[in-house]
């Protein structure tokens, strides 16, 4: 009987211009189950969910909820059909309270104060029943990310969601918080709620889902029961070929210290965002900086790259000393032999409206190589770009194409190519594979490892523990602007790192950061 399916999709099709985002998708989700949807970035998962939630309208196809066909033309319809969505980027008003955010849209009357009383009672009931405690009067921007996510879930439950869709929910959580989230999801499932989990993290699919559907390049390619599959099989389905999960690391001794940070303090508006940090990175090693995003890693990268200043301490980049009073700028830092692959290529690493050749000289546009007197040497720039695009297999290798037209993976290649080709001695890399498909991830990881094998000092900041663990020689964990511990890569596992990321020190970890013992 079809009414055992909470949601059934038939032939859902959606195009954006030439991009065929969803190709005749069929999907059946059983009631009271946790159903995972995996796929690479750009496979079409988010588009599909946006259609279910009414953000977009499908070009063709049917949606059935509990056996009944529904038309979803907007979020109102989705909510009425019992669908609730927890978005990857939270849909919260940051300077409102928890209560106000939950109420938004279902205030219960034009006069707010009356509505608030009833809403508060209902919210407190939900919090108790589902174990999602959070202070209704707390202001969102003051809450940690894990709690903000709870508010998102509460929002959906408040509106009577029977089908809960979570889009990449664990990107901002520590492993422990992720465990807790999964407990909640399982509890919801046991109470009859249907949960759809969209993720690209295969480990999580294996941990919590009952069934999995795999999307690839806009189409559904497989539906399996989780017990019948494993990470490798899923990865293969996602990409269409066998995928390697580890990278070759040549064992060797690290060389001289190329990047040294001593007692770094960064204060903004009276708040210490980075608190007395000290570490060093040597030539030929990768130092991985792990931590949930928002604990100072991004700021650290920006300070090292010369984008932001710092309050006290000393930074030594490739032999050059930087003090708080030194005027620093990304140009100066680059000239010291530092390359920087920023965490957010869209916001920082690239300019969408520039074409590839203009993107390739970003940060280096003042150098004599690219300028002849007053004018830029356009011919040389194009030629240079063309060569690099070919070497790095950037597709399409057209220097005049606007960067916005390249895929995520190719864009990241452009950024990495740009920095690597300058042959820096120190390499600052942030979230290198965010939003990049598995095939390109392999390529990028190999290149980062190449840098290390060629004797560069690499500082790698990433929220993906797999990435940190597979690439780093040593790992430090940041929490609230401090380094809470340092490990050799061999000694690190997810559990240990996860605890450290939440500032819980496992007994067997060295919590004092040693000054370099090698002479």
């Amino acid at each position: 009987m079809t009414d055992s399916y909470a949601i059934e999709l038939q032939g859902i099709d959606k195009k954006f211009g030439d991009v065929h985002a969803n190709k005749a998708i069929d999907l059946q989700v059983r009631k009271g189950s946790i159903h995972g949807i995996v796929g690479e970035n750009g496979a079409g998962k988010s588009t599909l969910m946006s259609i279910i939630y009414g953000f977009y309208r499908a070009d063709a196809g049917h949606i059935r909820i509990n056996g009944k066909e529904v038309r979803i033309n907007g979020s109102q319809d989705a909510i009425a059909a019992g669908i609730g969505m927890v978005h990857q980027h939270f849909m919260l008003v940051e300077n409102f309270t928890v209560l106000e955010n939950v109420m938004l849209g279902t205030e219960g009357g034009a006069a707010l104060d009356k509505g608030k009383v009833a809403a508060r009672a209902e919210l407190e009931r939900l919090e108790r029943d589902y174990g999602l405690e959070v202070d209704p009067d707390a202001i969102i921007e003051e809450l940690p990310v894990g709690l903000q996510q709870r508010v998102e879930i509460l929002k959906a439950l408040y509106r009577g969601a029977e089908i809960l869709i979570l889009d990449e929910p664990t990107g901002v959580l520590t492993p422990q918080e992720t465990e807790h989230l999964f407990k909640i999801l399982k509890a919801l499932r046991d109470q009859g709620t249907t949960v759809i989990l969209i993720t690209h993290k295969l480990r999580e699919i294996m941990a919590v889902t009952d069934h999995v559907s795999v999307m690839r390049q806009g189409g559904m390619v497989a539906h399996v029961d989780t017990v019948d599959t494993d990470r490798n099989a899923l990865a293969e389905l996602m990409v269409g070929r066998k995928v390697r999960f580890t990278v070759d690391r040549i064992a060797h001794d690290a060389g001289d210290v190329r990047l040294k940070v001593e007692n770094l303090v960064v204060e903004r508006e009276g708040v210490r965002l980075i608190n007395d940090l000290s570490f060093e990175v040597r030539a030929g090693e990768i130092l991985g900086v792990a931590g949930v995003s928002g604990n100072g890693q991004s700021l650290l990268m920006k300070v090292l790259a010369g984008i932001e200043g710092f309050t006290s301490g000393k930074i030594t980049l490739n032999g050059h000393e930087l003090l708080p009073t030194t005027t620093t700028s990304p140009l100066v830092v680059r000239e010291m032999g530092v390359g920087h692959v920023p965490e957010d290529r869209h916001k920082m690493g690239l300019i969408n409206k520039f074409d590839a050749k203009e993107a390739f000289i970003m940060g280096y546009h003042k150098s004599d190589k690219y300028n002849k007197g007053w004018l830029q040497d356009k011919k040389f720039i194009r030629q240079d770009t063309q060569e690099k695009m070919t070497t790095w297999d950037v597709r399409p290798d057209d220097p005049d194409l606007k960067t916005a037209s390249f895929s995520g993976g190719n864009q990241q290649k452009i950024v990495i190519a740009r920095e690597v080709e300058k042959n820096p001695d120190v390499f600052l890399v942030g979230q290198p594979t965010r939003g990049v498909d598995i095939g390109a991830i392999e390529f990028i990881h190999k290149r980062v490892m190449d840098m290390r094998n060629e004797g560069k000092a690499v500082l790698l900041v990433s929220v993906e523990l797999d990435e940190i663990m597979s690439l780093s020689d040593r790992i430090v964990v940041m929490y609230a602007g401090n380094i809470v511990g340092e490990l050799k890569a061999e000694a690190a596992d997810e559990k240990t790192l996860g605890l450290m990321m939440a500032n819980i020190m496992p007994d067997d970890v060295d919590t004092t950061v040693k000054e370099s013992a090698h002479e």
Binding site: E94, L104, T106
Partner: protein, 328 residues
Amino acid sequence: MLDFWFSWVILPLDSMMRLSTPLVLLALAGMFSERSGVVNIALEGKLLAAAFASASAAAVTGSAWIGLLAAIATTIMVAMLHGFATITHKGDQIVSGMAINILVAGITVILGRLWFNQGGQTPNLRGDARFQGIDFPGAAWIQENVPFVGSVYGEILSGHSVMLYLAYLMVPISWYVLFHTRFGLRLRAVGENPAAVDTAGISVVAMRYKALVVCGILAGFAGTYLAIGGNTAQFMPNMSAGKGYIALAALIFGKWRPVQAMMGCFLFGLLEAYAIRLQGVEIMGIGTVPVQFIEMVPYVLTVVLLAGFIGRANPPKSVGVPYSKERE
């Protein structure tokens, strides 16, 4: 002593009340619009349009209240045009605002000349075509018999036109609407995070249009006051003289909150009152201040406010950005 008090404290404060009124209304108008995410550079144009409409309608019908209605209807239309360009068609909000200001400046003069043949002005109004003053009870007696403070009641508070009292009433009303109604909650949400509102099932577009309507109504009041509500009794070309922009500065100074914005407007009004008071007066060591420098005062103050006190005030997060559903 009494003379000094009266001449240098009471009268300027009295003037301040009147000079600030259009600014307060405009600042409130701007507040609703900007809190919903629409930058309102077009306040100047709305002001001018309202002034023209109210003066013309009052001249033709002989009733000031009809003038007010005409002004509100006009500014709502202008607001709809503004919304059409920026919300529906996602045009640049500042460019469309400037376009409206220029359009209105031109059309008001053309229509003015066409209809009234007075070089762009509307006819001088008399009687019911103007708003009458309201005297508070016992004002005259209190002013005469209570020293110093009496004239606060008698001169500053009492005796203004109906429109002025209506205008200041808008401040607490706006506060209530913005912070204690469902409409206000949703409006502020749209200004901070339109995506959050969209996913909650509320139409961002509808909310912004509604905000523009409220903005239009308040601007309609402002223009009516400017032309026929206070001491003036007609429309003159370009009589807005930058008040739309000055109100924006006051709004920013007041951090987009009703009472603080009103304070900002008072600051302008007070300074302008003193500047006028100083016209022709000899100051020790300087002589008379040239009239051109007195004219400059509000504009210089605007720049000072924008540069000095505020530092960087935080506007509503989504201000200036047209809303479109992001693709991945």
